[in-house]
């Protein structure tokens, strides 16, 4: 990975603009989909695997008008699940001649290399979150075992692609998917947060172009609001925040080459009701409200700088897990033909 800082031919007199034109990459919104919107910084530097214990209960009672002594009992089954950790590493070697060459372009090479290393590591963390380091291990949110996967059905006019789809029907379809996700977690009627993580061309179309068409009957947002605004507004009215997040790597990652949009419910309070609570067992603690997780050992990559003959060696590293969704109800993979 060389530094390419060639000598330039310049006309005299001339003026060199000091500011740089830097290649811009998409700042992915994947972290919106994590419980608490951030990685769980709980790993030790050398942890190879993350485990989580799982409790299952089956209850049984006898109910008779008089008492007897042969009674059934509850069965509590304990087991555990795992996800692997991966150490991401990258190395930069340079010396004072490289620093001088980059300086000719107004680039501070140590800072440039540090940011380049972080960007590479951060992009890998994003890929690990969505797609997993090893997909065949069911790693990555899009590979969550038993997650719901839905493909956009044709609207009543037979339109199948996002660009032609009826905007009002699209809003109702999105609201239906959000409802199904929440009701599978017994969370209807509770405040919460839902994340829609998808490519800009999908989310953007929902937010900017798809104004709900006026029809002969009244429907939400007709003539005034976009599909995205209708979804957000109805979410607000139900105390559910809709977070729109963008990641263009999801283009073509849906079923049959369509674009994928991940519908995530990153946090879940344990559903409960005052008095006779048929979910009483879930009061057992400790439990977590984070439904979608990714672990790390450090908030930013560790850097190890070593003098080498005639230069410096900088290794950047960070240990992470793939995106992990132990409860498949928290993930819905929507496939939308663009």
């Amino acid at each position: 990975m060389p530094l390419i800082a060639p000598a330039r031919v310049l006309v005299h007199p001339s003026r060199i603009e000091p500011n740089l034109i830097i290649t811009i990459a998409q700042p992915s919104g994947f972290a919106q989909g994590l419980g608490g919107k951030k990685l769980r910084q709980l790993l030790s530097d050398n942890d190879k695997v993350v485990y989580q214990n799982h409790v299952d209960v089956r209850t049984a009672v006898a109910a008779q008008q008089a008492a007897a002594n042969v009674l059934p009992s509850a069965t509590i089954t304990l087991d555990y699940i795992q996800t692997l950790t991966y150490l991401i590493r990258t190395r930069q070697d340079y010396n004072e001649l490289d620093v001088a060459d980059a300086g000719e372009y107004n680039v501070a090479l140590p800072a440039a290399y540090r940011l380049a290393a972080r960007q590479g590591i951060n992009q890998f963390i994003r890929a690990a979150f969505i797609y997993g380091v090893n997909a065949s291990n069911s790693e990555g949110i899009i590979n969550t075992p038993n997650a719901t996967a839905v493909t956009l059905p044709p609207d009543t006019f037979g339109d199948t692609t996002l660009r032609t789809y009826d905007a009002g029907q699209l809003a109702i379809w999105f609201n239906a998917q959000i409802q199904y996700a929440l009701q599978s977690m017994f969370r209807l009627g509770m405040p919460g947060r839902v994340v829609l993580l998808g490519p800009q061309r999908i989310i953007g179309t929902l937010q900017w172009q798809d104004i709900v068409q006026v029809t002969s009957y009244q429907r939400p947002g007709a003539g005034t609001a976009t599909t995205g605004q209708v979804v957000s507004k109805i979410g607000d009215e139900n105390d559910v925040t809709i977070d729109w997040a963008y990641d263009d790597t999801l283009i073509g990652k849906g079923a049959g080459g369509t674009d994928a949009v991940l519908l995530l419910v990153p946090e879940a309070v344990v559903p409960s009701i005052p008095g006779i609570n048929t979910n009483e067992f879930a009061k057992l603690s400790p439990t977590t409200d984070a439904m979608i997780m990714q672990y790390t050992n450090v908030a930013a990559p560790t850097e190890i700088t070593t003098p080498i003959p005639e230069g410096l060696d900088v290794v950047s590293m960070q240990r992470i897990t793939s995106g992990w969704c132990p409860r498949p109800q928290a993930t819905t993979v929507l496939s939308l033909p663009y």
Partner: protein, 166 residues
């Protein structure tokens, strides 16, 4: 239950690990080697069903994230209940169809152990009849049963099962 729960050792020649709810044959250990309890091997005929393996308190069973049912390999300690102990034991049923045919059955309905699928059935073909003293007590369509494949045993979260008294 507690005073009738026995501990034993899986026989050295048992190639496929055992789990709870299996029909087993019991052998005494060698002279002076009683400390580990009876030797437990799978039943090989109707006449050799001496008892049933149990998960109760048998925490020496091994699980992994991909094999979440406790398994007891040759040489491991395992718990069991002996026929005649009158304990109630939960056992897997072959299918929901069998479950439905057993609804409203008499407690002494003839039951059979399927040594291939490792579950209770009502068919006498290639199966072992349970001792006549075994009684059917109850049925559940959504119990937890065991699926064994390729060395891994996983829970089937909604499998048909029966409670029998042995």
């Amino acid at each position: 239950m507690r005073t009738q729960l026995e501990g034993g050792q899986v026989g050295a020649g048992v190639s496929q690990p055992l789990w709870g709810g299996l029909a087993i044959s019991l052998n005494v250990q060698g002279v002076g080697q009683n400390s580990q309890g009876s030797t437990v091997v799978p039943a090989t005929s109707a006449g050799t069903i001496d008892g049933w393996t149990l998960f109760n308190q048998a925490s020496a069973g091994i699980i992994t994230p991909s094999s979440q049912v406790p398994l007891y390999a040759a040489g491991a300690s395992i718990n069991f209940a002996r026929n005649g102990s009158l304990l109630r034991v939960a056992v897997a049923l072959e299918s929901t169809t069998i479950l439905n045919t057993l609804a409203d059955a008499a407690a002494n309905v003839p039951l059979y152990w399927d040594p291939v699928n490792l579950c209770i059935t009502t068919s006498a073909s290639s199966t072992y009849a349970l001792p006549a003293s075994a009684q059917l007590l109850g049925l559940s369509a959504t119990s937890k049963t065991v699926t064994y494949s390729g060395g891994n045993a996983t829970w089937n979260a909604a499998g048909p099962a029966a409670i029998i008294r042995i």
